[in-house]
Assembly symmetry: C2
Homo-oligomer: 260 residues x 2
Amino acid sequence: MKIATWNVNSIRIRLQHVVDWLIQNPVDVLCMQEIKVVDENFPRSPFEELGYHLHLAGQKSYNGVAILSLKPLQDVSTGFSATLTEVAPEWNEQKRVITGVIDGIRIINLYVPNGAAVGSEKYEYKLRWLNVLREYLQILLASTPNICMCGDFNIALEAKDIHEKVNTENHIMASEPERQALRDILALGFSDAFRKFTTEGGHYSWWDYRAASFRRNLGWRIDHHYLTPNLYERAKSCTIDITPRKLTQPSDHAPVIVEF
Amino acid sequence: MKIATWNVNSIRIRLQHVVDWLIQNPVDVLCMQEIKVVDENFPRSPFEELGYHLHLAGQKSYNGVAILSLKPLQDVSTGFSATLTEVAPEWNEQKRVITGVIDGIRIINLYVPNGAAVGSEKYEYKLRWLNVLREYLQILLASTPNICMCGDFNIALEAKDIHEKVNTENHIMASEPERQALRDILALGFSDAFRKFTTEGGHYSWWDYRAASFRRNLGWRIDHHYLTPNLYERAKSCTIDITPRKLTQPSDHAPVIVEF
DNA sequence: GGATACACGG
DNA sequence: CCGTGTATCC
């Protein structure tokens, strides 16, 4: 089974890229982030024609996540509230979470807040969001211990996940509080699928549109598959496919694929 | 000598269409309207490489007129104030007028206000603008009696200049006050070059982008060459070239060409 | 730098 | 329907 995660930065703009990629890479599950469209306007048919079932948590303009899967998912829910019944409903307004179960594996597709700048209001929101996520995961783990949690985490955990032309100190996506919040989540029992197979740095999943970052390979590895122990053992590969990032009008992110 | 008028609806968007058209139709003079760009950002070189001299009266976002000519123009001025020294300077804010002389012929390139809806503030502005234009022309006629006044007049003078799917009564571009204001201008001694050669209706220079107007030929003839008697006598042809309107991402107007 | 929405002019 | 700007987000 292959599961991919890809921040597509607008599914309507990227439709052809994503369809073409799926034809070349017929993964079992595709988790998308930043679809930037309400469910009614999601371009369903091109994906349904490829045999995918669609599970959407869309929103106008911003955010929005979707899971496409060849087999339909079971036990699908969106947002934190479906699981974390005591959480404030505001945590569901931004569409950043969708989950479902396939072959006994719970897939959790996340679009972690970007956080703007360290110390900003959005940064505080990101840290609080990660804390809510941790509580959410604790509950899910109790019922479905096999979890593939993937998506755009907007956090690079190690120096080798970031190109060297940036001052990482107190940089958004690299600050210690963000990293610690993510480590606290991983401590629930998740491991980075990519690092099972690749230890060296210089592998990235996101390159800023500005300053010709991709051409100069000034990237960040911020899109991840985090696996619970059983799945981590079973993982056979985890790769980043940078080919779609080379197309015209690309997403700023590349897809990351894990295989079991 | 061939003189063309074309409302290009943004020269930056239409650059390739206009360049291609000039290569196929190497007119001596091209009068453009709605260039929608300040002079500093006008794409000069593609036209200069074709041998054209550029005379610009551009503005940000809206309006803007330009004359391109193989021979440089003499006595170029923009706006009403250069000639009508007593007019309020507000009449020069919207860039709708540019003029110059070539081979003893004064070319006046106009973008007449659209007028929005009959009775609106913009409509009153259009009528007052036409009145100022008349005073302006009176002065120019005294020094240069041979005038080719062309451009987007946003007025169709006769029923046969308008398709029949529209109720012309009190319609913008066809209302009696607009037509009378234009007739008052033509009474200074101008004649419609197009009507020297073609008397039947059904020839249009503008089709609304909406409602598939071009496909259904629901057009208006609102782009004109008005000539003083000597030039009118010398006119050999006046045609509308609808081919660029068939391209993808076309201007809503077609070029009109007069030949002496 | 590239995506979104919205307002305005036509 | 098709341009142009502005603002917001990343």
